[in-house]
């Protein structure tokens, strides 16, 4: 009897310990990947405040790499600004990382198109290289245990309903 219950218990254990991820079809351009551990991400934001991804576990993180010279990044950023207020009721933290630009370059761009965003400054680009995005812009979705579960390639309108619903479903 004991041995017959064991598989069931194991199944229940798996069900309740596996991070809950989206079950709906993925929106365009979002790929499910195999949960590699997110690399270190310790940077100061443009206001000089320190941030460490490893200390912010327990919820999903939207980690986005961009540069102001990258046209798709420029076109995408306003949609991120619009999306964030739409997800205040979600369990998502937004981590916006600028790749290898100066504060002046970032401020002069974001001040116009997304003034509410406070990006982290990867001033020498080395953190971005460690994360190994396939290109700029790139967005990683990191689960509460610190593993990358989804990757979004290229630019998109993040405030479209399909993306907002998908991000809201991450719990």
């Amino acid at each position: 009897m004991k041995s017959r219950k064991a598989p069931l218990l194991m199944l229940l254990l798996l069900l309740f310990t596996t991070p809950c991820t989206a079950t709906e079809p993925l929106p365009t351009g979002v790929m499910r990947i195999n949960g590699r551990v997110a690399p270190a991400l310790k940077l100061n934001n443009i206001d000089g405040e320190a941030y460490d991804l490893s200390t912010t576990g327990g919820h999903w993180r939207f980690v986005h790499f961009w540069a102001s010279w990258c046209g798709p990044c420029r076109r995408e950023m306003p949609s991120i600004q619009r999306m964030i207020p739409m997800l205040t009721d979600s369990d998502l933290e937004f981590v916006i990382v600028n790749t290898a630009e100066t504060e002046d370059e970032v401020f002069s761009f974001l001040g116009i198109v997304a003034p509410d965003l406070v990006p982290l400054m990867d001033s020498d680009g080395l953190v971005t290289q460690v994360w190994e995005p396939r290109g700029l812009p790139s967005t990683f979705l990191v689960d509460p245990s610190g593993r990358i579960q989804y990757l979004a390639l290229g630019g998109r309108e993040w405030d479209q309903p399909s993306y907002v619903a998908f991000l809201r479903s991450l719990k």
């Binding site: 993925l26 351009g29 979002v30 990947i33 046209g71 630009e101 100066t102 290289q129 700029l136 630019g155």
Partner: protein, 211 residues
């Protein structure tokens, strides 16, 4: 119209700049990808009229956008590159390349399968190793190296269906025009149909050419 710089042009018209050193989804990603991914349709795809010579069929779109040294200098100067780096950049020929996998299977960009010929002699792309040596010689700041790196076409990418890739290839500045034969393997194991694309007499424009 070629009034914009290479990377500015590319950046303004394409989905995203590619990481040259992280070329492929490794095998550990492929199985989950097969089950989990939807098509990777570029939301900001490049649109006609294409800004340079192109090839397009049901499987592949490939566009070449040559740029003058002055265009490239303007772009990198605006990114804070020092004068000695600009001099190295303007000694060469920059071609922005845009590729989209329009087929339903993986298509492999691998520049090792490309043949470039000028004046009946084979040409080599000035790749990451070349530039890293140059940047070491002039002690280019890391931030500039990173920006330059993100503007280059990667050497190898396993393009998923509908996935675009873009960036610059750089040739020696002595090249005035060249022939490019670009071969693309298809299929996850690269054993599918080969796609061959030929571009004849692609120019490396000088400033006067664009005026």
């Amino acid at each position: 119209m070629h009034t914009q710089t290479c990377a500015k042009y590319y950046a303004a018209n394409n989905n995203f700049m590619r990481n040259p050193r992280q070329p492929r989804l490794t095998a550990r990603f492929l199985i989950p990808l097969l089950f989990g991914m939807q098509t990777v349709v570029p939301c900001y795809a490049i649109e006609k009229p294409y800004p340079g010579p192109y090839f397009e069929n049901a499987q592949l779109l490939m566009i070449l956008i040559p740029h003058t040294p002055e265009q490239m200098a303007a772009f990198y100067e605006a990114r804070g590159f020092p004068k000695n780096a600009i001099e190295l950049i303007t000694e060469t020929c920059f071609i922005t390349v845009h590729i989209e996998n329009k087929g339903r299977q993986v298509t492999w960009l691998d520049t090792a399968n490309w043949r470039l010929i000028s004046n009946n002699r084979a040409l080599a792309i000035l790749g990451t190793d070349y530039w890293n040596r140059k940047w070491e010689e002039i002690d280019l700041p890391q931030a500039n190296r990173s920006t330059f790196y993100w503007t280059q076409l990667p050497a190898v990418v396993d393009l998923q269906p509908d996935e675009p890739v873009g960036g610059n290839i750089v040739l020696p500045g002595t090249v005035r025009d060249f022939h490019l034969e670009a071969n693309f393997m298809t299929g996850r194991d690269q054993r599918g149909e080969k796609i061959q694309v030929n571009f004849e007499r692609v120019a490396c424009p000088r400033q006067a050419d664009s005026q």
